[in-house]
Symmetry: C2
Subunit: 229 residues, 2 copies
DNA sequence: TCAAAAGTGTTAACCATACACCCATGC
DNA sequence: GCATGGGTGTATGGTTAACACTTTTGA
């Protein structure tokens, strides 16, 4: 059924940069396109915004449909509107970035049978459209954000060790951190709940597990507290 | 001439939050609507994105057409896509914020004869659409940005005194700053060029004028320098 | 008993903050 | 000469950064 307007309208899409962490490096979730343009190329998951859904809803829906990933931390990144970013016609895309626990969110076969897989965030195959630019912007945003907001916890299991947390921050910031200073700072914030549990099945002394205390974080944020790694 | 598509498309607009500074408080540029919906109400300048112009271009064009303001610092803020933000139909709006020198950019009569005027940024009349929400987001962004990037200089004349600069920061951050510490910090950054000029026509000792050294700023930024008020 | 990672304090350098008086100028 | 804002330095406390060894555990 056709829809007619008095003036031409750009198409509107969402694209999602989904970051994951596999205890080693930062990953990004890509899908392989099976339609033109760029058939066979890897790209960010995304698609057209429907007229009766919000932008956030569109991003979540596309992610679910194309990668099976649900229930994630999602935040709007930037809107890309260059004239030739899609060779077919004018397409404006609202980009989002998301953080998920890579192990708790296995990449289900996408409903429309495209391939979906995790790639190192700083070493992807060539991407379709302007998706490399979008990915670069998302990485930069994540690096900025992580310094003053405790977003990184979304990337870890609910229970984690301080070393895991430190490795994650090192992976995101691409810089080594001092163990003692890192622990001092994090523990000093009083945002981590020490559990009476240690990690299992390791070939050395088992580390204590912690949990991020969201309650406390909310309380502190309201009082004008700043995370500041 | 009608344009027809296979699926319905949201309309796409830009809205601009233009901040100015009158040596006293932070102002925002509003226009008075003369068309429905919200005829007679004050609103942010903005309008429809044309299919052959980028989002930035659309923002600049609308500003020029509606307020006569050109040649300003402009940055994308956020894209607003709530379902009922426009009562007529689904409209997604890419919001921008801009900084201009209020005195060097007098508000020309808008080409389409709407009224345009400056209002205190924290005390506007009720605004059309979700523009109050957009304004609040822009204010928050400005307050965040100003702490670690020297954006504020766009709001001042090219030559300014340190006291003017301090007042501006106080207005944006809504907090008083210590004169000696402020000067120490700013001058220590080596980003201000002291001129051999002083202000004119003041009834007390004339203050030295400074100019922001963009060259030096660019050089430092590349080396990973951080502004940090 | 060895390997591997956990856990833990101190010091020195730097930075942020608080604070008050004299000076130059125009009226 | 007085009112107005311009301009300047120091001392203190807190924060960050650098740094190495002992402990626990499983293999």
């Amino acid at each position: 059924m056709p829809y007619t307007y008095q003036y031409p309208r750009p198409a509107l899409t969402v694209d999602c940069v989904v970051f994951g962490y596999d205890e080693e490096e930062l990953k990004v979730l890509l899908i392989q396109r099976d339609l033109e343009p760029f058939a066979g190329k890897w790209a960010l998951p995304g698609g057209f915004v429907q007229v009766e859904e919000t932008l956030d809803d569109a991003a979540r829906r596309e992610l679910r449909e194309e990668t099976g990933v649900t229930d994630l931390y999602l935040e709007q990144l930037y809107t890309f509107g260059a004239l030739q970013r899609d060779p077919r016609e004018r397409v404006v895309s609202v980009a989002y970035y998301a953080l998920v626990n890579l192990f708790e969110h296995p990449v289900a076969a996408a409903t429309d049978a495209r391939n979906a897989a995790w790639f190192p965030a700083d070493d992807t195959p060539p991407l379709a459209f302007d998706h490399e630019e979008i990915l670069a912007a998302a990485l930069k945003r994540l690096q900025g954000k992580v310094r003053y907001q405790p977003v990184g916890f979304e990337l870890l299991p609910a229970k984690f060790t301080l070393t895991q947390l430190q490795r994650l921050y090192e992976a995101i910031l691409e810089t080594p951190l001092d163990k003692r200073n890192f622990r001092k700072k994090l523990l000093g914030m009083d945002l981590l709940l020490a559990l009476d549990e240690v990690e299992q099945d390791v070939a050395h002394r088992a580390a204590r597990l912690y949990r991020f205390d969201e309650e406390k974080y909310r309380a502190l944020t309201e009082k004008g507290f700043n995370f500041e790694l």
